[in-house]
Amino acid sequence: MNNRINQKLAEDSKVLSIYFTAGFPTLEDTRKVMLTLQNAGVDMLEIGLPFSDPLADGPTIQESSTAALKNGMSSQKLFEQLEGVRDEIHIPLIVMGYFNAMLQYGVEAFCKKCNELGIDGIIMPDLPLEIYQKEYQEIFEKYNLHNIFLITPQTSDERIRLMDEVSNSFIYMVSTASTTGSNAGFGDEQMQYFKRISKMKLKNKLVVGFGIKDQETFQQATQFTKGSIIGSAFIKHLTENGVDSIPDFVKTIR
């Protein structure tokens, strides 16, 4: 499998990826947010499909999800909004959500739709490796979709190697044991962890997420890795300053 994600990862520079919640701040902002982020120089986008019970998310993403659902966002709606997205967006696109949404839409129908729209990857934190391998890997691959796995500081080397086998783009390194939006910054412990995993010489690239909020944390996170993903800090900025100020946020990162 080879798509826009692989091409982006093959470039020399570090990758800045932004997570945003679809249908937020208003229902029809999805495309505008995407275009503005691309034009501001962001390398990759994670389109957050909001879920009523986002177990891995902290308050910021929970609140944006609740607001987006109230606005009327759904899988169906998102797919409608993404019609023709490849006419204007050229950077890699990843859909991130919770597995129940896929299950209700139909896993194959969901993947097929993603493929038709030009989506490159999927992140479902609550779809575990074993079940993915057993039941869904074939479907994802049939539609040229990378499934991105998460690892944490507690994940064993053995398990990381397994994920490295099964994937062929990047591994999503969760920076600290926490839900999204932790604000603590990175200390020695995180730096050691980033370094430790980078020394494993995996075939997949490493991209760090959770807790990246500014230039300093972005640089720390990418010192030993290929890139990093910003979610809560971006949503906070968007909530406070609106869509038009997105370029200001991106400038503060690099």
């Binding site: 009523s52 177990l55 129940n100 299950l103 934190p125």
Partner: protein, 397 residues
């Protein structure tokens, strides 16, 4: 080798197509560790001895199997009540928390978290933590904190910290989300004591094993009273399904015993205010388990409603989803109104004020007729002290 009981969890934690562990990677090390160790630990003789001593001298087991004479006369069947309301702390929940606290200690955990709806599981967890001198944090929906105030005070008196869950419907589902998020953020020193047969494998199996004492005792007690181990019916209310799992456990493979599960219909299954999962739900994933749950076509989980905080949950444990789909159990849903009347009736007929959760089971007589010689065992899962204010407001005492 004995044939596998088709109603219990397989190796991967599936009951038919339901169950499993659909968890974010952050929870994997904890869940995996638990999965690897729980069976061997709880089967150790020293573990069993400690557990049985505490169940006997601290919890007050065995709980009586009481023949309810006046109810029996009224409804023309032999009605027995398994008196879990007489357990220390007033409900069956303590059977599980005592077991899990011993397990947590064996796993070397120093901090306990739990969710609670009615507050019974919160109180039972706080009690077990006080007993062992372990730090205890309870997540409880803000709505439930209001409607189960006496239990909030009890938890605090027992030394637990009660943290309100303010997301979603501010009830049991949301408290469970918060507890899981806490576990994600505290992956090393913390054990999560789930209060029902829900959540990722191995929890449904673990909790069912600790509650199975209910049917183990029932069998022996019924043999003494009726000359037979098996009743014609076992009847229990289902929130997540732990008291029901306990009463059903040793009867699951006894096909002549009919299993009745009572869900909360809230204001009725045709309204938007209900918690009747099998009537209104569809297969999906909630709290790490594939089961039946109330959700919209997009897969967003519905905010449930029931007058009883302990049944106000949009899912049921995977064991129960399988019992429903396989037809092994019959599911009935009971409205707030019928449950409240049944609670009043049991109070006046037998002198026992039940928890509102439990009262749902006793409304079964509105829905089903029994024969004169039928032997019925109800799980009297908890007492109604915590619900007094709700009863007072409802009936205007």
């Amino acid at each position: 080798m004995k044939a596998r009981n088709p109603y219990l969890a397989d190796e991967a934690g599936f009951y038919g197509k339901f169950g499993g562990a659909f968890i974010p990677e952050m929870l994997y090390p904890n869940i995996e560790n638990l999965k690897q160790q729980y069976l061997s630990i709880i089967e150790e003789e020293s573990f069993q001895n400690k557990l049985n001593d505490l169940l006997k001298d601290y919890v007050g087991r065995p709980t009586p199997l009481y023949f309810a004479k006046r109810m029996s006369e009224k409804y023309g069947a032999k009605i027995y009540l398994k008196r879990e309301d007489l357990c220390h702390t007033g409900a069956h929940k303590v059977n599980n928390t005592i077991g899990q606290i011993l397990l947590a200690k064996r796993l070397g955990k120093k901090r306990i978290i739990a969710e609670t709806g009615a507050g019974q599981h919160g109180v039972a967890t706080a009690t077990a933590c006080a007993l062992m001198g372990i730090e205890c944090i309870i997540y409880m929906g803000a709505v439930d904190i209001k409607r189960q105030a006496p239990n909030v005070s009890r938890m605090k008196m027992l030394g637990a910290k009660v943290v309100p869950a303010n997301s979603g419907s501010k009830t049991l589902k949301d408290a469970t989300n918060e507890a899981i998020r806490d576990w994600i953020s505290n992956p090393e020193n913390t054990h999560y004591i789930i209060g029902s047969v829900v959540g990722p494998h191995p929890y449904p199996d673990l909790v069912a094993r600790f509650q199975a004492i209910i049917s183990k005792e029932t069998k022996a007690q019924l043999l003494e009273k009726e000359g037979r181990e098996n009743p014609d019916y076992v009847i229990a209310c289902v929130g997540g399904g732990s008291n029901a799992a306990g009463l059903y456990y040793h009867y699951l493979d006894q096909e002549e015993v009919q299993i009745i599960a009572v869900e909360a219909a809230g204001k009725g299954i045709l309204t938007t205010e209900s918690a009747a999962t099998t009537a209104l739900g569809k297969e999906g994933i909630i709290h790490g388990s594939k089961t039946l749950l109330m959700q919209n076509p997009d897969g967003q989980i519905t905010e449930p409603y029931s007058i009883s905080a302990g049944l106000d949950y949009p899912g049921i444990g995977p064991m129960h989803a399988h019992l429903f789909e396989s037809g092994r159990a019959k599911f009935v849903s009971i409205t707030d109104e019928d449950a409240m009347q049944a609670g009043l009736e049991l109070s006046k007929t037998e002198g026992i004020i039940p928890a509102i959760e439990t009262a749902h089971a006793f409304a079964i007589f509105k829905e089903m007729k029994f024969k004169k010689d039928d032997v019925l065992v109800f799980n009297l899962s908890g007492r109604g002290d915590k619900d007094l204010q709700t009863y007072i407001d409802y009936f205007g005492f």
